[in-house]
């Protein structure tokens, strides 16, 4: 980067993303100037991406304890107890900026990275989900390109490594035009006793680097890409994007799991952002020890690589482990069997320093606490926007102006990119490998996987930038409620939450306010539902010259079903079944998909949410599915009751006739609070009596081959299915 003439005037630390204040702090802590290698290491460890310097204080607000918790925040991934001696590890992470610059490799390595987080705690990855945001595909060729390539990249990695992609979500808004979002979530299972932590221990133990050769790819990714806004000339940053090799990772994965099965490792950690620097610093920091590394032992792709490049390279498919010296031989033998490179590159010390040698010559010597703990944490300076929030200009064009019938509106909504079938995406993903997938995409609101003892786990991932933009606190809480509602619909009890907070530049007061409010919303909803946050990721600086993205907290929740054979479905199942609308449900058109169709910038107020009541209703739905009083259950989300009913008809291939209360808007939204359920009339009545009073309204029955809603609309299911089924086809 210093080859650009104008840059040579800028002090080195600023080129690397450190402020003058931060650099002064480094000088003070070290009592001297850092050398080139040290400055490179510090600039990454003190980047937003590694140090969470704008969000760490806020994150302390999240509830992190619960009865099922096994591993909480701070480890590579969180984990909960799912019974049968099994731990379920899970985490969501962003790879937004790399994907905006090079969508195929950006998305692919996003999947690769989250997989490594899961097997770093000793769990076998069993499922991937993804949460994607792009600009408007109809208007923007760039967004179609990003969509197509990101989806291909996710499929390429997940399919090739043999981990099913079982769910996810994608939404399109103009604010993501330049800065798309690619969040990937992974789940893994392990015998409880195989879970491993990342804390290095035992001075004298060896530090062994596993996996791929270290190359010049991804240098400065965490600071240059992930911790700055996108702007002009980002194509030039493509070399900062790593290249993924799922074949190498498949071997690395099997190798690591075998090493753990044989009890050969003291600690294990993946190499992600900031490469070796970050991994080794975190391991020794957690263990309260030190380390001495010899970079000349690191196998490299190019022998001319400088020590600083080796220390910060983000080459993929690498892991770091700590091994007792007598067991090294056995470790190396297993790695050979899996054709995975393994090299002892250093040893644990009791110095409290990260010391780096190059052919025996010291090239860096930094106290661990300076690397890991001394980065200043910043207080946000939040201020609500003075004017009502406005979306970025440019794309919001009314698509459904004038007076149109409810039938026309329903068809338009069903065919709109945010609501229509996701088939063109999920057909590019292997969702069946590993033989656990009990419900296929679009059969249910949450994905369901079988466990060996006949129980099951369910998982969903949700976020809604439109609604968070309109009201950050309530919108973020809604994301949690909606995600939990999806689990209720399959009969699963939520056990733990992971989140990825995708926001703009936190140094801007409005973004700081959005972030602060949204975290409070997540806190309130998690507390109301009694689910802990076990880990996650923060992605800031998601903005382009046109402005920040819609604030987009993405929520992933995992849950448990006692009997996987009784997992719920969303489609209406049988002619003659009664249909009920359930919930503390008073939807409105604020920030709804119908408003989007009209070209309106989302704004509040959003409907109130009573967390306690929502929790009760979710428990009631869950109970009904488990007892099979309900033959179908579906939460009312984007597009309101009309769209939810249409989805139940399409999935079931059968019609329905319902009467809605006059005051209920067909397209009003209040995510996480309303459900459409069906079942035998008498069973449904009895079940409704068990729930909170007044929560359940009988609205009609399953019948025929058309959806009829009061006198508002009547449409053949075929026509609904056609509109819904083909919405995304033209973009692929």
């Amino acid at each position: 980067m210093s080859t650009v003439a104008s840059l040579s005037e800028i002090p080195r630390h600023r080129q690397l993303g450190l402020t003058d204040h931060e650099y002064e702090l480094i000088l003070e802590r070290l009592g001297r100037e850092p050398n080139t290698v040290e400055l490179a290491m510090l600039s990454l460890m003190w980047s937003e991406h590694c140090a969470y310097k704008h969000s760490r204080k806020l994150l302390r607000r999240l509830p992190t304890t619960g009865p099922h918790l096994l591993l909480g925040p701070g480890e590579n991934a969180g984990a909960v107890d799912v019974g049968g001696g099994l731990a379920l590890a899970f985490k969501v992470e962003s790879h937004n900026h790399p994907s905006a610059v090079e969508p195929f490799q950006g998305a692919a390595t996003g999947v690769g990275g989250i997989l490594r987080d899961i097997f770093a705690v000793g769990a076998r990855p069993i499922a991937v989900l993804d949460s994607l945001r792009f600009g408007e595909p109809e208007q923007s060729e760039r967004s179609r390109y990003l969509l197509g390539r990101a989806v291909a990249g996710i499929g390429h990695y997940g399919n090739s490594i043999g981990v099913p992609t079982i769910g996810g979500e994608v939404y399109f808004e103009p604010s993501y035009e330049q800065n798309c979002l690619v969040n990937a979530m992974c789940l893994g299972i392990a015998p409880r006793e195989r879970l491993i932590r990342s804390a290095a221990a035992g001075p004298g133990n060896l530090v062994v680097l596993l996996g791929a050769l270290t190359g010049r790819d991804g240098i400065g990714g965490a600071s240059v890409l992930a911790s700055a806004e996108l702007g002009e000339g980002d194509e030039a940053k493509r070399p900062s994007v790593q290249i993924g090799d799922p074949f190498a990772e498949k071997k690395l994965l099997e190798c690591c799991l075998e090493l753990l099965d044989r009890g050969l490792l003291v600690a294990l950690q993946d190499l992600g952002a900031a490469g070796l620097t970050s991994s080794v610093s975190e391991m020794v920091s957690k263990g309260g020890v030190g380390v001495e590394l010899n970079v000349s032992r690191v196998p490299v792709r190019d022998s001319a690589m400088e020590p600083f490049e080796i220390m910060v390279s983000e080459s993929q498919e690498r892991m770091l482990c700590v091994v007792e010296p007598p067991r090294l031989h056995e470790v190396l033998a297993i790695c050979r069997r899996w054709e995975t490179l393994a090299t002892a590159i250093g040893e644990v010390t009791d110095s409290g320093h990260v010391r780096v040698l190059d052919d025996g010559e010291p090239v860096a010597d930094l106290p661990v606490h300076v690397l890991v703990d001394d980065c200043p944490l910043y207080d946000l300076k939040p201020a609500p926007p003075s004017a009502p929030p406005r979306g970025p200009e440019g794309f919001e064009t009314p698509r459904a102006g004038g007076r149109r019938s409810e039938a026309d509106l329903l068809l338009a909504l069903l065919g709109s990119p945010n609501i229509c079938s996701r088939r063109p995406l999920f057909e590019q993903y292997d969702w069946i490998v590993q033989s656990r997938t009990v419900r296929r995409p679009e059969q249910t609101d949450a994905a369901v996987l079988a466990l060996p003892d006949g129980s099951g786990i369910a998982v969903s991932i949700d976020g809604n930038g439109r609604r968070v933009y309109a009201d950050p606190r309530l919108g973020a809480a809604e994301a949690v409620y909606e995600c939990a509602a999806n689990l209720a619909c399959v009969g699963a009890e939520p056990l733990g939450v992971t989140n990825c907070l995708n926001f703009g530049n936190p140094e801007k007061p409005t973004v700081a306010w959005q972030l602060t409010e949204a975290v409070e919303g997540v806190v309130s909803a998690c507390e109301a539902l009694g689910i802990p946050v076990v880990g996650g990721n923060v992605s800031l600086y998601n903005e382009a010259p046109a402005g920040p993205i819609f604030p987009t907290p993405v929520i992933g929740i995992v849950g448990k079903l006692p009997d996987v054979a009784r997992a719920g479905r969303l489609g209406f199942a049988r002619e003659g079944d009664a249909i009920a609308l359930v919930g503390p449900f008073s939807p409105s058109l604020a920030a709804s998909e119908l408003e989007k169709l009209w070209g309106r910038t989302p704004s509040g107020p959003l409907p109130d949410a009573d967390g306690g009541l929502i929790r009760q209703v979710h428990a009631t739905i869950r109970g009904g599915v488990r007892r099979q009083a309900l033959r179908s259950a579906h939460d009312v989300a984007e597009g309101g009751v009309a769209v939810a009913l249409a989805e139940c008809c399409i999935a079931g291939g059968i019609g329905a006739r319902v009467e809605l209360p006059d005051a209920l808007d067909s397209f009003g939204e209040a995510p996480g609070r309303g459900f459409i359920v069906s079942g035998p009339a008498d069973a449904l009545e009895r079940w409704a009596d068990s729930g909170p009073s007044g929560a359940c309204t009988m609205i009609g029955k399953v019948c025929g081959d058309a959806l009829q809603i009061s006198s508002r609309l009547s449409l053949p299911v075929d026509e609904l299915a056609r509109a819904w089924g083909q919405g995304l086809d033209k973009f692929f």
């Binding site: 399919n159 090739s160 074949f247 190498a248 498949k250 071997k251 069946i432 656990r436």
Partner: protein
């Protein structure tokens, strides 16, 4: 009876095939680097991305040490089932006719499809009714079956086309909707769909179990004789 499921670096559906086989018999994993079929009655080359599909799908796996044994076993009349990547490997090894080309869409496709049993007079389909329809998923990027016209005609005439995609279900542009073919002696069979992922209605469908049951019945019958 015993199935031996080969594990190459990059195999993904090896455990699935192993579990499916265990529903009808015994099963063991065969390590790619060992020249040992461990007394298997049926060798299964599973799906996945052996050797990362580097160079060309199946091109490297075909040279794995274990494949020397598999080729010899096949030439002696041993039963060999190749699924997806396994089908590609068997074509590369010259044990099956034709080749698998990239899908017409040039994309990975994962989809449940209907298959018509064209020939139920093979060890792999003997338990199927004539013209039975099996519902089995496909998932691949390189599954378009191709053979030159004369060879295609011979395959059809000789009963070597074992499975075809039902009308409207061809996911990849395979010629003549071919989903699975066997060799002339009928002891080696390859197919792109994944029967090991269709052995339990809980996880989708059970059409693939027919393939494993057929093999079981065939081996049992052969032992009785």
């Amino acid at each position: 009876m015993r199935f031996g499921v080969v594990r190459f670096p990059g195999s993904c559906d090896d455990v699935d095939a192993f579990q499916a086989a265990r529903r009808v018999g015994d099963a063991v994993i065969l390590w790619h680097a060992e020249r040992d079929l461990r007394a298997a009655d049926v060798v299964v080359i599973p799906g996945g991305f052996s050797y990362g599909d580097h160079l060309r799908a199946g091109a490297i796996a075909r040279f794995a040490p274990v494949m020397g044994e598999v080729i010899e076993f096949a030439h002696e009349g041993g039963l060999v089932l190749g699924i997806c990547n396994g089908f590609q490997v068997l074509c590369e090894a010259g044990l099956l006719p034709g080749a698998l080309l990239p899908n017409v869409s040039l994309r990975f496709v994962c989809r449940q499809v209907d298959l018509e049993v064209v020939n139920n007079q093979t060890p792999f389909t003997g338990a199927c009714d004539p013209a039975e329809t099996l519902s089995i998923p496909v998932k691949h990027t390189t599954g378009r079956y191709y053979a030159p016209p004369e060879e295609l005609a011979e395959l059809s005439a000789g009963g070597q086309v074992v499975l075809r995609y039902a009308q409207g279900h061809n996911p990849n542009g395979s010629l003549e909707d071919i989903a699975g073919v066997c060799n002339e002696p009928r002891n080696v069979f390859g197919l792109m769909p994944h029967p090991e992922h269709a052995v339990d209605p809980l996880t989708g469908s059970a059409g693939g179990l027919r393939i494993f049951e057929s093999l079981r019945a065939h081996v049992d019958g052969r032992v009785a004789v």
